[in-house]
């Protein structure tokens, strides 16, 4: 038993695992009309995880457990807390949407919880195998969620595509990990770093493994040139699932990159190697995401390409290769997640039975139909475009600053030019909402909780735009405390 001592750093995961089983079993005994109980239980589970994470946060420095496979540090706690709130928010937004589409069932909730567990394990992993396990738990749950709408051919196609490409990426990751193991003789991330620092690892094999790892990471992030699945999956999946895929897993993917590349393979000679690869991926993602998004007429697809470009920005933050850059990357991903759930929340809010509200033209004249929601969407879109005084601007600023500090001013210029191109398609939404007349005047109905959450969500963009300091400080602190 001494291998799993102390147990407390993993309490949130253990609690969640226990509760998933409870949800799964309890749901079997429920009728369709009191399925709300499952929903409530799920929300309480996540809230409980948040409380446990809050109270078990280590006072100082990282705490390792499970023989060093699992780590609890400030970064993991912050990311986990944001993950819980993100998932809770998505559940609130998607409740009416999935009810109307017959997905308001136990499976949805247990899959959401399982994938959350996977993310938590990824965030806290200190061992390549743990990392991989978390990733697979997340991915398999996501594949199933995409396919949840059985009768939809589009969703099934998306799920197949996601699954096959996902399996390929997992294979690459595993292959890369095995190379790393061959070169360094360990899979534990902290020890891996020590072995590399000693110079006792075999350089060529290590680099070779690194290439596969970076490719796998690129796939999971959805960065070009490993982005092929993103638009189809975003488009094909039910919006509730798209909102999920597009948000919380990016937090986990950020942690994944940090653990793997920075903590494990962050030695100077390897940093030079993966930085080059990340530069290529970042520039390609920025270019491709922003340019192709212009041609989209479907909002979900457009947001998919926008995600690709945001991931490019995230990579820019990481490739700066210093604490400042990592903090900016973390800030970026947190802001991105907030914007993203807001945008998808809006799509679900506008959707009705038999109406997906996913075409750009569905947003025509929103200012006439509901000035308040139009205003909130305006905040979200301009924040994505990075216009001050909204949170997205500071996220971009932080990344650009760290990139320039690392000596890559040209990368900053490239990023800026592509975000100018990006501004065009975000503006297009604003234009449709404000400048065009409504084609469809069906009243927009939303329940009280959705209205409140949407308001908080979008106004948070303005709040963190005017006062970005608290959130930035949290990111800086958690990176400093964890690395």
């Amino acid at each position: 038993m001494q291998y799993i001592q102390p147990l407390w750093p993993a309490y949130p995961e253990l609690f969640l695992l226990f509760m998933v089983c409870v949800v799964l079993v309890a749901d079997l005994f429920m009728h369709d009309d009191n399925r709300t109980a499952t929903y409530t239980l799920t929300q309480f589970t996540l809230a409980g995880c948040a409380l446990i994470t809050w109270f078990t946060a280590p006072d100082s420095g990282p705490t390792y457990t499970f023989s060093g496979m699992f780590v609890d540090d400030l970064m993991s706690d912050v990311l986990k807390l944001i993950t819980y709130f993100t998932v809770m928010g998505i559940l609130v937004y998607s409740r009416a949407y999935i009810t109307a589409r017959g997905m308001f069932r136990g499976e949805f909730f247990s899959l959401v919880l399982f994938s959350t567990l996977g993310m938590m394990i990824m965030i806290s992993a200190n061992h390549l195998l743990a990392l991989y396990l978390g990733l697979e738990l997340l991915s398999l749950s996501l594949y199933a969620m995409v396919a949840l709408q059985r009768d939809s051919a589009r969703a099934t196609e998306a799920a197949m595509k996601y699954f096959i490409l996902g399996a390929l990426a997992s294979g690459m990751l595993l292959y890369g990990m095995s190379m790393i193991y061959g070169a360094a003789g360990t899979l534990e991330i902290t020890r891996l770093a020590n072995v590399i620092a000693d110079g006792s690892a075999k350089g060529n094999i290590l680099t070779f493994g690194l290439v596969f790892l970076v490719a796998g990471v690129g796939f999971k992030l959805g960065a070009a040139p490993f982005h092929m699945w993103v638009p189809d999956v975003y488009h094909g999946a039910p919006t509730a699932v798209t909102a999920f895929i597009g948000s919380a897993p990016k937090l986990a993917a950020f942690a994944f990159v940090m653990r793997l590349l920075v903590q494990g393979l962050g030695a100077e000679e390897l940093l030079v190697e993966w930085r080059q690869m990340l530069i290529v991926m970042a520039v390609l993602s920025l270019a491709l995401g922003n340019i192709i998004a212009i041609a989209q007429t479907n909002l979900k697809r457009m947001l998919a390409y926008s995600t690709i470009s945001h991931m490019g920005f995230l990579l820019l933050g990481i490739l700066s290769g210093d604490l400042n850059g990592y903090a900016s990357g973390m800030f970026y991903v947190v802001v991105y997640v907030l914007m993203n759930i807001g945008a998808f929340g809006m799509i679900m809010l506008m959707a009705r039975t038999d109406f997906e509200a996913e075409e750009l033209n569905d947003y025509k004249g929103l200012n006439q139909r509901s000035p308040w929601f139009a205003f909130l969407m305006l905040l979200l879109m301009l924040s994505m475009a990075g216009i001050p005084p909204l949170a997205g601007f500071y996220a971009k600023l932080a990344v650009l600053q760290s990139v320039a500090q690392a000596g890559y001013v040209w990368l900053a210029v490239v990023a800026v030019i592509f975000s100018l191109i990006g501004a065009y398609y975000y503006l297009r939404i604003v234009r449709l909402m404000y400048f065009e007349d409504a084609a469809d005047n069906t009243p927009i109905y939303a329940t009280g909780d959705v209205r409140i959450l949407m308001t908080i969500n979008a106004l948070a963009m303005l709040f963190f735009g005017v006062l970005p300091q608290p959130l930035m400080q949290i990111c800086v602190d958690s990176i400093l405390a964890s690395f």
Binding site: I387, P388, P389, F393, L400, V416, Y434, F435, Q473
Partner: protein
């Protein structure tokens, strides 16, 4: 004065009122929205008046300084302060906002609350640009002004408003994004400070200075706008509602001129001197060529838009000849142009509200039906052509004098505007106002009402006062301009 944070008030009073106006909601409460907007605009103007009365025009450096930490991780401060130059622009801005609110009173009937709120936000944000002493704060305000203007053009604009608003937004965004890179570079070079005062002292090599200069130049030249990056302006002006055109011409263009004075010159003085010839060349092209372009316009708003570009050429010319007359003239010209172009756009607005046409050819003989209006319009047309005794003369004449000191040919070309300016303005005036009554629409015109008279009358008073007695405007400038010129004359190149 009473220890009030006057600069913060001048920024936030309009913005808070803007939020309140938005809260009045739908058009059922339009009257409430209008009244609240008027109160907000007047309150915003009143809080800026003590800035002038309490201003020490002999003092160098910045006054009414406010400093508070804002984003500690980036060492960004909420740092405000003004000198004579910003003072005048703040006053102009807050004054114009009142006029714009009154001018839109009955004209705007759709989404009144949003319209009024957008102008109040814009007013507060632009005051922010003129007060900011922290580069990031400056940038945030500078960029944020795009959002309300984008909405104003796009929602209440003319038939081609969508094209114009998007062009306006992206064009100006391109410029400012590059300047953001320059600011980040400076931040890293200054070892983690965004303070403009630190940037002023920062030694920089000529190569870096030139790159930074061009990055800033992109932002400010687009905003001014200078030839050849002016093409967004005629579109934006033609499509914008009257109030939008007024604010655009009177204040927003000044953000560019102000940016040159506040950022480009003091931060990269060597590059500014080195490239002065280039900027002067572009300015003269604007003055002469755009003046000729204005001559052939058939649309009144477009004509005034081109005339704006031509007049703003004077501003950049005056700034980059690096002598006190030129620079003071440039600043006076900015203020004067704020009054005159604003007034001209309002005049066109008055006609457009009645006839729904901006084509010169649709008019003729307006004086027969609208004598009061014709008289006021006459005054503004004269001011636009630089008639002595109007504000237009003071600025242009001072710049030409400054240019003469620098180079005879600069002055010669610049002075050509006195001919072209008079030609295109007065020719337009003649075709619209004089002659026989052109058609039955003109025959049915009503003269301006009290509201319109108040707006135009206030501007007429300002134009004449500035023309006859420019001292109150000029005296606050002397020290600031001399300080700036002294600073610019000191090289920032690192000592070998």
């Amino acid at each position: 004065m009473y220890g009030l944070p006057l600069l913060s008030l001048s920024i936030w009073v309009p913005i808070v009122f803007g939020v309140a106006v938005l809260a009045t909601g739908s058009d059922r409460n339009a009257t409430a929205a209008r009244l609240l907007a008027l109160i907000g605009a007047i309150a915003g103007f009143l809080v800026t008046l003590p800035l002038y009365t309490g201003f020490n025009s002999a003092g160098s450096g910045f006054q009414y300084v406010e400093l508070a930490p804002w984003i500690a991780s980036f060492n960004v401060n909420y740092h405000l302060g003004i000198d004579g130059l910003s003072l005048l622009l703040i006053l102009l801005n807050s004054f114009t906002t009142v006029l714009v609110v009154v001018a839109g009173w009955e004209i705007i009937t759709q989404k009144v609350a949003q319209y009024m709120a957008a102008f109040l936000f814009l007013s507060g944000l632009m005051n922010g640009v003129f007060c900011a002493l922290d580069a990031l704060l400056f940038y945030v305000f500078f960029e944020a002004t795009l959002i309300p203007m984008f909405i104003i053009i796009g929602v209440w604009g003319g038939p081609n408003r969508i094209y114009a608003s998007v062009k306006f937004f992206l064009y100006t965004l391109l410029g400012s994004l590059l300047s953001l890179i320059a600011l980040i570079y400076l931040y890293n070079t200054a070892e983690g400070s965004f303070s403009l005062l630190d940037f002023y002292q920062l030694p920089l090599g000529l190569g870096a200075q030139i790159l930074i200069f061009f990055a800033f130049f992109m932002a400010f030249a687009v905003k001014v706008p200078m030839w050849p990056v002016h093409t967004w302006l005629p579109d934006a002006h033609v499509e914008a509602p009257t109030g939008g055109s007024v604010v655009l011409a009177a204040i927003m263009l000044k953000l560019g001129g102000y940016g040159f004075l506040r950022l480009s010159l003091p931060i990269v003085p060597d590059a500014s001197q080195y490239l002065a010839g280039f900027v002067i060349f572009l300015s003269l092209v604007a003055v002469v060529y755009i003046g000729l372009v204005a001559l052939v316009q058939t649309d009144m708003k477009k004509l005034i838009a081109y005339s704006s570009i031509s007049h703003m050429g004077f501003v950049t010319l005056g700034i980059f000849i690096f002598n006190a007359q030129g620079m003071e003239g440039a600043i006076i010209q900015m203020i004067s142009h704020g009054f005159v172009s604003g007034a001209l756009f309002l005049c066109v607005g008055v006609l457009y509200d009645r006839m729904h046409s901006r084509q010169i050819a649709d008019y003729g003989g307006v004086v027969n039906r609208m004598p009061v209006f014709a008289a006021l319009f006459m005054l503004f047309a004269m001011a636009n052509s630089g008639l002595p005794g109007t504000s237009g003369f003071v600025g242009e004449f001072t710049v030409i004098m400054g240019a003469m000191k620098a180079n005879f040919w600069y002055a010669f070309l610049a002075a050509s505007t006195l001919i072209f300016g008079a030609a295109y303005t007065l020719w337009m005036y003649k075709r619209v106002i004089f002659g026989a009554v052109a058609n039955h629409h003109v025959a049915e015109l009503q003269d301006i009402n009290l509201r319109e008279f108040l707006v135009l009358g206030a501007l007429a008073a300002a134009v004449i006062m500035m023309g006859v007695w420019p001292d109150p405007f000029a005296e606050v400038l002397h020290t600031s301009v001399n300080d700036l010129l002294t600073h610019v004359s000191q090289s920032k190149l690192p000592v070998e």
